[in-house]
């Protein structure tokens, strides 16, 4: 909720009534300025006590309850002025307004009885009263609603990020701790919904798979074999889970080692040499990776070429030549016969001319058709005589004419003659290409190793022994974990393969039809599980991308005034569940040597981006911070305020620095709300007499 005002009555250093201890707030950045010891932390306590019934005990350095804080809640001066056997009261009033415009007043009070000058009987608990402004008047809220209203002022999961002290920023956004940002994302975004869906679908998948196995066992033709397979499946699944956990851990460790390695590389002093090496390294790595990919594709496709490039036909020319020979013979016979058939078709019918006329022609020694003489013994006579010997030629079509089949075979094999003769060189070429790629990759790997060695030498040249040890350790870890991950992958593939095999074996034993619903459920839950995991990954990745952009926009606006600031935030996703922030330069190199102010600013930008990721928070809740810009230079601080004003509807900043009376015009912050100065006043000036202290709250007119 947005805060309208807070007022105190005899609360710690705020002596006096509510009217003299009221701090009203508007939209924008409200600033409370005060030197150390002038009431800033007590104001922070006022907020805390009103909402959470706790104050910060600086001696114990932690938050304590009302009961534990005892009489330190009360103003020293009010306690001094209280007569023995009389009561002193401490009160806080906090007025807030929710997103629907409904106003609430939260009123907390504590009483104590003075027993003597040093002893008090403090009420064990404070009392609280909440009122709601309805229509035209304030109305008491039912006690049963108190908890929910207090929770709505600032929801618990937002509290660490919206109400914080400057020194807490480092732990809230610890860049050394991968889980720090991930935790913030989990708390403040809806990614947990997707985690829940992953969990539900995984559970559903396990249950439905189990049910399917039971069903298959029920229908099994060999139940003891099914049981044995089931046991194997259970064991293999355990092995698979263990291997996957191991791989996850190795992946995380490798990524951490890479981050450490990069960090050390970037801290080297010879920047030029480093940049040169880095550029070469990147280019070589890209080339090597591209070649590796190409090599993998070639190798994967190699055996396919047996058929797609006809390599399997290598050296089959002799048999094809023999076939051609057979085909030629076939053709010869085939056409001979076909020709005979044709001749037979074109001859005179057997009974034309009839034998009686043939005999007449022979007797007359003359042909009746052409009129020529045919003397006995002449060719003409013999030809006419031959007509008597004609037999009936039967029609000779083939039962199964194979001419087109064999022609097709002949044509197809002839067409590939040239291809087949070139197969040998085609294979050699492919192998040469593979060998060339292998050699290039090997050479690039060597060059990469040399550059890494050179990095090592640079580190060794100008770094301490510890750094060198650290560098070598990270390098070795990267190698070791890479190998370990490869082994994990091989084992995981093998176990997955074996599980598939067992599944097939189980299926084969099934007699009859398994229940369709059981089968469908196993299939659908498996798909839902894959889908949920994939979508979770996508949502997380998009969240991180948006967060990175938003944080960088905020960071840029924070650092507009400071030209010396370089770098931007890079959020590295690790194992699709965690996210690691780092500050990098324009080339993506880690800026390990960034100054504290820079880092603090980046962290604040990141926190704001996280809070802005759900649009309503920055509009509906007030960001309260105690000393967020301590240890920051003026430019940085102004940048922070600028971003704060732009991104949050209301904020309250308690700080010791901001403006001095004489430098009001220095303020260049837009969206400035109310500005107050706190001043501790001891009437006769004797700072040892804390009993008379009261705090003056003065609104500054800027």
């Amino acid at each position: 909720m947005i805060i309208n005002y807070i007022s105190m009555l005899n609360f710690q250093c705020f002596y006096g009534n509510h009217e003299s201890n009221t701090v009203a707030f508007s939209d924008g950045i409200n600033v409370i300025i005060g030197d150390n010891g002038h009431g800033k932390s007590k104001l922070w306590n006022a907020f805390y006590w009103a909402l959470y019934d706790q104050i910060f005990d600086s001696d114990r350095e932690r938050f304590v309850t009302t009961r534990q804080s005892g009489e330190s809640i009360f103003s020293d001066r009010a306690k001094k002025e209280c007569a023995v056997e009389e009561f002193v009261k401490a009160e806080i009033k906090l007025e807030v307004v929710d997103s629907q415009g409904v106003r609430f007043e939260i009123y907390r009070m504590l009483k104590a009885k003075k027993l003597d000058d040093h002893n008090w009987e403090v009420a064990p608990t404070s009392s609280i009263l909440i009122r709601r402004y309805k229509v035209t008047q304030w109305q008491k809220v039912n006690e049963s609603e108190y908890r929910s209203i207090l929770e709505r002022v600032l929801p618990g999961h937002l509290k660490p990020y919206m109400w914080f002290q400057g020194e807490q920023v480092n732990s809230l956004m610890d860049f050394q701790n991968q889980t720090s940002l991930t935790q913030a994302i989990q708390l403040l975004s809806d990614i947990t919904n997707y985690d829940d869906l992953v969990d539900i679908t995984r559970d559903g998948k396990e249950k439905s798979a189990k049910e399917l196995r039971i069903e298959q066992k029920r229908l099994s033709s060999d139940s003891s074999k099914s049981e044995a397979i089931e046991r194997q499946v259970t064991n293999k699944q355990k092995d698979l889970e263990e291997e996957e956990r191991d791989r996850e851990s190795n992946t995380r460790n490798k990524e951490e080692a890479e981050i450490g390695f990069d960090g050390l590389i970037n801290s080297m002093s010879d920047a030029q040499k480093r940049a040169e090496n880095k550029a070469n390294l990147d280019s070589l790595t890209n080339k090597r990776d591209a070649n590796s990919q190409q090599l993998d594709s070639k190798i994967q496709a190699l055996n396919k070429k047996l058929f797609s490039s006809h390599w399997v036909l290598k050296d089959c020319e002799p048999s094809i030549t023999d076939f051609s020979g057979k085909y030629d013979k076939f053709l010869e016979h085939h056409y001979q016969k076909a020709a005979l058939d044709k001749i037979a078709e074109s001859q005179l019918p057997v009974d034309v001319p009839q034998p009686i006329f043939v005999n007449k022609m022979l007797a007359d020694e003359a042909c009746f058709v052409c009129g020529h003489l045919a003397p006995k013994g002449s060719d003409e006579y013999k030809h006419i005589s031959g007509l008597l010997d004609r037999k009936i030629q039967s029609s000779t079509t083939f039962k199964n004419d194979c001419s087109s089949l064999f022609k097709k075979l002949y044509d197809n094999t002839t067409e590939y003659k040239n291809v087949i003769s070139g197969i040998g060189s085609s294979i050699s070429e492919e192998f040469s290409s593979i060998t060339k790629l292998r050699n290039e990759i090997s050479s690039d790997n060597k060059s990469i190793e040399d550059i890494n060695k050179s990095f090592g030498e640079l580190v060794e040249k100008d770094q301490s022994e510890n750094i060198i040890k650290e560098f070598r350790k990270h390098k070795k870890n990267i190698e070791d974990f890479t190998d370990a991950i490869n082994v994990n992958n091989i084992k995981i593939n093998r176990i997955t393969d074996e599980l598939e095999g067992l599944k097939t074996q189980t299926k084969k034993l099934v007699v009859g039809s398994p229940n369709k619903a059981v089968e469908a459920a196993a299939e659908i839950f498996n798909k839902l599980s894959v889908l949920a995991l994939s979508t979770r990954g996508l949502v997380f990745s998009n969240l991180v991308k948006d967060l990175e952009k938003s944080a960088n926009d905020i960071y840029q606006s924070m650092t507009e005034r400071n030209k010396s600031v370089i770098g931007r935030l890079n959020l590295r996703i690790m194992d699709s569940k965690t996210c690691f922030p780092e500050i990098v330069d324009s080339d993506g190199n880690s800026l390990a040597g960034s100054n504290d102010s820079n880092i603090r600013l980046v962290k604040l930008a990141l926190m704001m981006a996280v809070l802005k990721s759900t649009s309503t928070w920055s509009q509906n809740y007030c960001l309260v911070s105690d000393a967020p810009t301590s240890k920051m230079s003026r430019n940085y601080a102004e940048g922070f305020y600028e971003a704060l004003g732009k991104n949050f509807r209301q904020s309250i900043v308690i700080t010791f620095d901001f403006v001095t009376e004489t430098k009001k015009s220095d303020i260049k912050i837009n969206n400035l709300g109310k500005v107050y100065k706190l001043n501790s006043v001891i009437p006769d000036g004797d700072r040892t007499k804390r009993d008379d202290l009261y705090t003056e709250i003065k609104e500054l007119d800027l």
Binding site: N193, A521, I524, K527, V530, L538
Partner: protein, 74 residues
């Protein structure tokens, strides 16, 4: 309270859904929580999962509801 429409949108924007189901990429955009008797069984089950989860139902109830949906679509 989880926003079920937003969750459904994130799933339908995932190409994996197109790979795993029989739904064309174009009709993925038209998917809503309205029950579709002729719908793809994976998509209907997914809708049931999100709907049931966003209602705050217990895990075991969500799984049961999906199973009922699968049987309905057989």
């Amino acid at each position: 309270m989880a926003n079920r429409n937003e969750i459904l949108k994130n799933f339908t924007n995932n190409e994996k859904l197109y790979e795993l189901s029989d739904v064309s990429p174009e009709s993925l955009n038209d998917i809503s929580f309205n029950p579709d008797p002729a719908g793809d069984v994976l998509v209907e089950s997914l809708k049931k999962l999100i709907f049931s989860y966003c209602k705050g139902e217990a895990k075991i109830t969500v799984i049961k509801n999906i199973n009922i949906e699968i049987e309905k679509n057989l």
